[in-house]
Amino acid sequence: MRRISLAFFLGLISTVIFAQDDLMNILDKNSTNEINYTTATFKSTRVLNGHSIERMVKGQLDVRISHRFGTLNTGGYNFFGLDQSNIHLGLEYGILNWLMVGVGRSEYEKTFDGFAKFSILRQSSGAKNMPVSVSAVTSIALRTLKFPDQTRTNYFTSRLAYVAQILVARKISQGLSVQLTPSYLHRNLVATELDPNDIFALGAGARLKLTKRISFNGEYYYIANPKTYLSQQIYNPLSLGFDIETGGHVFQLFFTNSLGMTEKQFIGATTGQWKKGDIHFGFNISRVFTLKSHRKPSNS
């Protein structure tokens, strides 16, 4: 009797073990059916100056305040540039989970700007394997600074410039994300015959996570047009700095040779040179408010 019950017990255990295997199989199958979308490729919607692959999800409002100070080489009398400051204010909103729009105003040439960012592909693993995230950004800049000569015939379209960008980003590991940004800038009016109306540039950005809340970011735009004979010499913008996340805010503190904070300005009008010390200290502050909370998560 004892022997029988032992045999029965052993049999029971073995079926339990088999059953557990079956359960694991089912779990495996379920998990491969799920799509794991990569999140937090970058901390903010900007790498530093330029757009990152990140966007506001539906119903979220991002209030952004950005400053660029004067250059470090203006010396101690100007407190290494901190006496001067340029401001950009922005309001950015997620209309849909894959569509974000924003408006802003720069002190530089009294420029208003507007943009839309479309998410085309999202990096994912699991059931759908996608190695990169891809977004498109289109933006318009409207310069409202008064024309120097009021007597000539000035056109409204002369104030406009357009930018189109494709963002291709990949979160390589938990700590490292990279992004490539082919960019096209068109300016309706330039100063002289020597200056191109169209500028092509390739941006590269990266984020290296240092701690849970701090990451090191770098961003560089290579301007493909010849820069030798322009009425005003421009250089490739390079920015290096840190993202610091504190609760609902993201602070970005960095150094850059660009005074401008929007694409039109840092691609087309970066006149500073790192090796000469034309380096601006700058920061972006981002505060996200949830205006519309949506209960059911959607994949759209």
């Binding site: 849909l96 894959w98 569509l99 839309a116 479309f118 289109t138 318009i140 000569d149 000539r152 056109y155 379209t157 002369s158 406009l160 357009y162 068109h186 309706n188 009016l189 330039v190 100063a191 002289t192 015959e193 020597l194 200056d195 109306n197 030798t228 004979y229 009425s231 759209s300």
Partner: protein
């Protein structure tokens, strides 16, 4: 999915409408600062450009005098085409070697050279 495609295409179409108002202007060409006496329609290499150059440049930049002018020759059209970007910055005095060294060319001459370059530097 179809809805999403539709909204994307609509949004992109709206943005393309803005691009319709694309212009390729520069202030020099749009607002020329020259008198009406300046001939900007009939600019030729043999007539206009060679006259400007012989009056202002050939003392150092002719084929025989080029040793004075850093080896830059401006007599043959091929040499002018090769150096056209340098000439543009030099006569506009925005480059490292403003030319002519004695003083700026008249605005009519500068504009005429710019027009000839914009026309594709024809040998006429």
């Amino acid at each position: 999915m179809m809805k999403r495609l539709f909204i994307s295409l609509t949004a992109i179409a709206i943005f393309l409408l803005f691009f319709v108002s694309c212009y390729y202007d520069n202030e020099e060409a749009l607002y020329p600062s020259i008198s009406s006496a300046c001939d900007t329609t009939n600019v030729t290499f043999s007539g206009t450009i060679t006259t400007i150059f012989s009056n202002n440049c050939y003392s150092c930049h002719s084929n025989t005098n080029a040793s004075f002018g850093g080896g830059i020759r401006l007599q043959n059209i091929a040499d002018v085409i090769t150096n056209s970007q340098k000439i543009l910055v030099s006569i506009n005095r925005t480059g490292p070697f403003p030319m002519p060294p004695g003083g700026k060319l008249g605005s009519c001459s500068i504009t005429q050279f710019g027009i000839w370059v914009r026309n594709g530097m024809p040998n006429n």
